[in-house]
Each structure stands twice: as C-alpha cells, then as structure tokens.
C-alpha cells in the first residue's frame, strides 16, 4: 500500500545553470516501472522533496512529447529551493505527482497561440510550447513574447534559436532596460505586447509571470481584443499536499493544486481574484 504523501525516489541526472539563481534539474525515477507509467500533460506540476529539508511544488518544464525524465526549473528563493541548488548530479530527491489540471490542449487545437512569459514564468509555458511544436499541425501561428529584467535573467536561452526557426513561429525577446550588445526589444512585457499588437482572431493567450506583470498584461490583452475565456494563466501559491486537502492554496472555492493551476481569466474574475 502506498501512502498518497509518499514520494517516488528520483536521481538528478543533469543540472543546467540558467541564470545566477535559476537551475534546471533533469530527474529520472529510480524505479523504471514508475518512469514508464508516469504520464503528464503540459501545465501539470510535481511535489519535489529534498530529504530532511522539505517539499515544494514545481511545474514540469519539459514537454511530455520529449519525455525522458522530468525537468524542473528552480529559482533559489527559500529553504527547499536552496537545498535543491545545493544538490549535485547523482543525488536523490523525492517526486510526487503529477498534480493539477494542465493546459486545455483540446481547446487550444486549431488556434493561433500567443505565449506571454516573464522571468521564470516561461517554465510552464516551455512545456506547452515544445508540445505544440512537436504537434505542429494541430495549431496555427505561434507567437512567443518573453521578457526578463535583464538579458542575464532570461531562461532556456539555447532553445530560442530553435523556436525562431520553427514553422510559423515568432519569438520576441525583451529586457526591462537597454543593455550593451542587446539587439532585441526593450521595455516591460505589457508595453512590448501593446507595441507588437498580436492579432486576436481565433487566438488564445497563455500568460505566466510575476504578479506585477500579470496585473498590467491582462488589460493590454483585453484591449487587443482577446476575450476573457481565451486568456489562460497558470498560478502558484504556497502548497503542501498538492491534493486539495491541506487547505491553503484556494482561490475562492477552487484549489490551485487540484482545480488549477491553469485557470482562464474569466474563472479568476468570477473568483474575486486579484493579482
């Protein structure tokens, strides 16, 4: 019998330093039967644990279409993330999941997709972007707007070239302030988005970033003509169980862990949610 709170053991098989405080960990289950039965959708998350230190939720940042192990990008922020950053290749962690609803893949089929990301907010979108590129014929045009405070804070840099070359796919990068040797856009994400003015017809916008970016990006999307149900975001809050039992990550009557983390802007409006 397996307790619902007991994690599976996994080994760190790769670590990539994305920025000064973000690392992407590649994780493989020690039990090969678990590895092959672990199925997830883009937008779902796992609870990662470090022995004796604690457990925290992280989105799965790689696409299930390229599955060999899981990737989680972790920003060093508190106790568990510091403990994760202190680990090396070959070290063992615990994984529970996958949890949450994931992105509404069926509803997104046949649409133009606008991805808007800020900082580490690109992590859950990267899973979906790569999923869409691997199922290219299911989706129309793909536009990615990705911003960070500085160019040093941009994540997944080595994938930008692939995204730029992909069929009917555009990538716009932006940093908050002008830097030397920076040839892409300058300005915070909402401003850049307004300037780019992507078309809203038959489109869905998938947005993830810090609260302040979300707050100013949503009005821009509405002005551009995106309707509330087709603006999709993925949220986070402090979580413990990931199963809708421990009682802390609710927005109104919905739990981010169980009913989310992916919500439409329409749902959040109905729930009195404020960024």
């Amino acid at each position: 019998m397996r307790n619902i709170y007991t994690p599976y053991l996994a080994e760190i098989t790769g670590i990539k330093q994305e920025t000064s405080d973000i690392k992407t960990f590649r994780l493989e289950f020690k039990d090969k039967a678990v590895e092959s039965s672990f199925k997830y959708r883009p937008g779902q998350f796992v609870e990662l644990s470090v022995f004796s230190e604690g457990e925290a939720p992280f989105c799965i940042a790689n696409s299930p279409t390229r599955q060999s192990g899981l990737e989680c990008s972790v920003k060093r922020m508190g106790k568990v993330t510091q403990a994760l950053h202190d680990l090396d290749i070959g070290d063992t962690v615990g994984i529970r999941g996958p949890y949450g609803n994931g992105f509404p893949l069926e509803a997104l089929k046949g649409k133009n997709l606008l991805f808007v990301a800020g900082g580490i907010g690109l992590a859950p979108l990267r899973s979906l972007i790569n999923y869409c590129l691997d199922n290219r014929s299911d989706f129309e045009d793909i536009t990615i707007v990705n911003g960070a405070r500085t160019s040093a804070d941009l994540v997944y840099k080595d994938e930008y070239g692939i995204w730029q070359k992909a069929k009917a796919t555009k990538l716009h990068l932006t940093v908050d302030c002008q830097e030397e040797n920076w040839s892409c856009m300058v300005g915070v994400v909402p401003k850049v988005l307004e300037k780019l003015a992507p078309a809203c017809g038959n489109s869905a916008a998938i947005v993830c970033g810090p609260a302040v970016m979300m707050k100013y990006t949503l009005p821009v999307l509405l002005r551009l003509g995106f309707c509330e149900p087709s603006i999709i975001t993925t949220l986070e809050m402090k979580m413990k169980c990931g199963l809708g039992k421990c009682g802390r990550c609710n927005i109104g009557h919905l739990y981010i862990c169980k009913d989310g983390p992916v919500f439409s802007y329409r749902q959040l409006e109905d729930l009195n949610y404020e960024f």
Partner: protein, 328 residues
C-alpha cells in the same frame, strides 16, 4: 433497531468489549476537564452533560503523526492503524463532523489511507446531549442532539435507563448481547418523549457570502483575533495541515488559516497578509467554499471555537450578522 438497558448493563457491555477492542470515551480528569481517553475500567466513562475540550477527530486525523521515514535510500511507511476501536460518548455534532472530514480524506481520487483505515476499524457510539450548551448551534446547520448520522448507534440517557438507536451492522454487533428490544408501545412512547427533548435554538445563516467578500466587515470582526489558532485545533471539521520534515521522518500536523505563515511564500509574499484575510478565509471556507464544493457547510455548530476563544469571538454571531452587513 432500538434497545433499552441500564447503566450496569452498559458497564457490563463495555467490560466485555475491553477484551477485544480498544475502548475510548470521555473521561473527567481532575483539573483538566473532560477529554476522550482510553477507557480501562467502566466507571471511568463520563456520561454527563459536559463536552470534551478536543473533538473526536484526533483519533482519525491526528494533531501530529509520522507518515513515512527515509531508510536506506528508500521510504518506510508507517503502518496503518488497524486496531479495532469503539468510541463511546461521541456527540452528534462531532459524528457529523466526521462525515464532513470523510469528504476530504476519503475522497474518490486521493484517499488518505491512514484516515480511511481508522474510520473503517472504529465504531462510533454516540451520546445524545440532554442539556445542549448555551453556545451550541447545531440545529442551524442541519444537525440536532437527536441526530444519529455518522454513528453506528446513538445512546439517549432517560430517567432510569438508556435507550440506544442502532443504525448499522457494526452497531448491531456491539449491542447484540445487551438489554432488550423496545416493544411497539415503548417505541411509540419513546418517539413522543424524544420530541420534547431540548435542542438549541435556530439562527438564520446566509445562503451565500459572495456579495460580502470585499466588505470591510471582515476587518472589523477580526480585529480582536490574536491568531492563536485554537478555533482551528478544536474544530471537529477543520482539516488543514502541514507536511514537515523532521530529521528523516515526514510529519503531518494540524495547521490553520489563523496563522500568518500558513500561506506565506518563500518570496515573502503572503496572499492572506492580515488577520482580516485570514479570518475571512476561515468563515468563507466553512460557510461558502465547502458548500460550493460539497453541498454542506463545514461547521457542525459544536461551539468549541466560541467557548474556548481567548478573545470571545463568536463565529455564529459573525456569520448571522453578515446578512445585516450585506444590506447596509
């Protein structure tokens, strides 16, 4: 099925049960009030009007328990509680509380094995309240001191004897050797007598709290709160918990919305920054969110949070007055 028996017969029954079961019931401890404890000898069992400090939930969902431990690079899970238990003297409100906790911990998708196993292996024998407390408001939440929901049997103290209404097979088994069945006439008389029993007065609770979420009311009513969390610990339906690492073991312990760090994130951001948001969460979880998810309020009106609040906050009054606030 209804049975009548004397106190002596009940004691004899419990003596018999002690051989095969772990028997738990309310006990009055000098200087410590009444609390659910293991019963080792029948006179220990308290069958008076008083209420236990802690609700019976701790025998299913423990204030603090180890879930698993890391051992030799693997996990060792704690064995499930499989001992056969009978809990006597459970109040109707608390038994209803268990039926609400079932919706969380015995959920179809993710069932909590330790909770489910304890529920399965425990018989609940209730005791109807002859004199409900002055703060009790179970009737406002669809309950009653005469309500046997969530129990295997409910015992009523009558003038010179007890009557048990037995609801389940588990209950029948426990009471199989005890007392006599009620005759048809006795049954009729008892049903009449039951109607005359004291029940707490009913208050009107609002159907929905949607309209008052943004109201300043929550700042005003939470002003006195010192964030001690006793309301959540003593509540028969509060189920929030923390998962914490202690050495190589994983602990699950009670946690609650009254505490500032309950939702404080590693970045320092806290979506429920002040006691206004925290107390509002408590009231909404109980009287709005849970109802949206499960069709019932997450409160059984036991009034423990009212009786034991160090600053005398009264959730029944606060929720009742919401209606006035919404109109204002």
């Amino acid at each position: 099925m209804m049975k009548k028996f004397t106190r002596e017969e009940l004691y004899k029954l419990i003596d018999g049960l002690l051989k095969g079961f772990e028997v738990i019931g309310p006990r009055e401890l000098a200087g410590k009030g009444i609390s659910y404890q293991a019963i080792t000898a029948t006179p220990d069992l308290y069958l008076g009007d008083g209420f236990t400090l802690e609700p019976v939930k701790k025998f299913f969902f423990s204030p603090s328990e180890y879930l698993f431990a890391q051992a030799n690079g693997s996990w060792e899970e704690m064995p499930l509680g499989k001992s056969k238990r009978v809990i006597f003297g459970v109040r109707p409100c608390e038994a209803r509380g268990l039926t609400l906790l079932d919706k969380i911990f015995d959920a179809p998708e993710y069932a909590d094995d330790s909770y489910v196993s304890r529920r399965k292996n425990t018989a609940i024998i209730g005791l109807s309240c002859l004199n409900p407390g002055k703060d009790c408001f179970c009737t406002s939440l669809g309950g009653s001191p005469l309500d046997g929901r969530g129990m295997d049997a409910l015992i009523f103290a009558c003038a010179e004897r007890f009557i048990a209404e037995i609801a389940t097979e588990k209950g029948k088994e426990i009471f199989s050797g005890l007392g006599k069945d009620l005759t048809t006439e006795e049954r009729e008389a008892w049903l009449q007598d039951k109607k005359k029993r004291k029940t707490p007065g009913q208050i009107n609770l609002p159907e929905s709290l949607d309209a008052v979420f943004k109201s300043d009311y929550w700042r005003k009513v939470s002003f006195a709160c010192i964030g001690c969390g006793i309301c959540t610990y003593l509540c028969p339906t509060c189920h929030c918990f923390d998962l914490a690492d202690e050495g190589r073991r994983k602990l699950r312990c009670y946690d609650g919305c009254a505490f500032g760090d309950f939702t404080r994130e590693a970045s320092g951001v806290n979506p429920r920054l002040t006691k206004k948001e925290r107390y509002r969460q408590r009231v909404f979880h109980k009287f709005d969110y849970f109802k949206k998810n499960f069709g019932e309020n997450l409160c059984v009106g036991c009034a423990r949070c009212i009786r034991h609040c160090p600053v005398k906050m009264d959730i029944s009054e606060i929720v009742r007055n919401v209606s006035l606030e919404a109109k204002a």
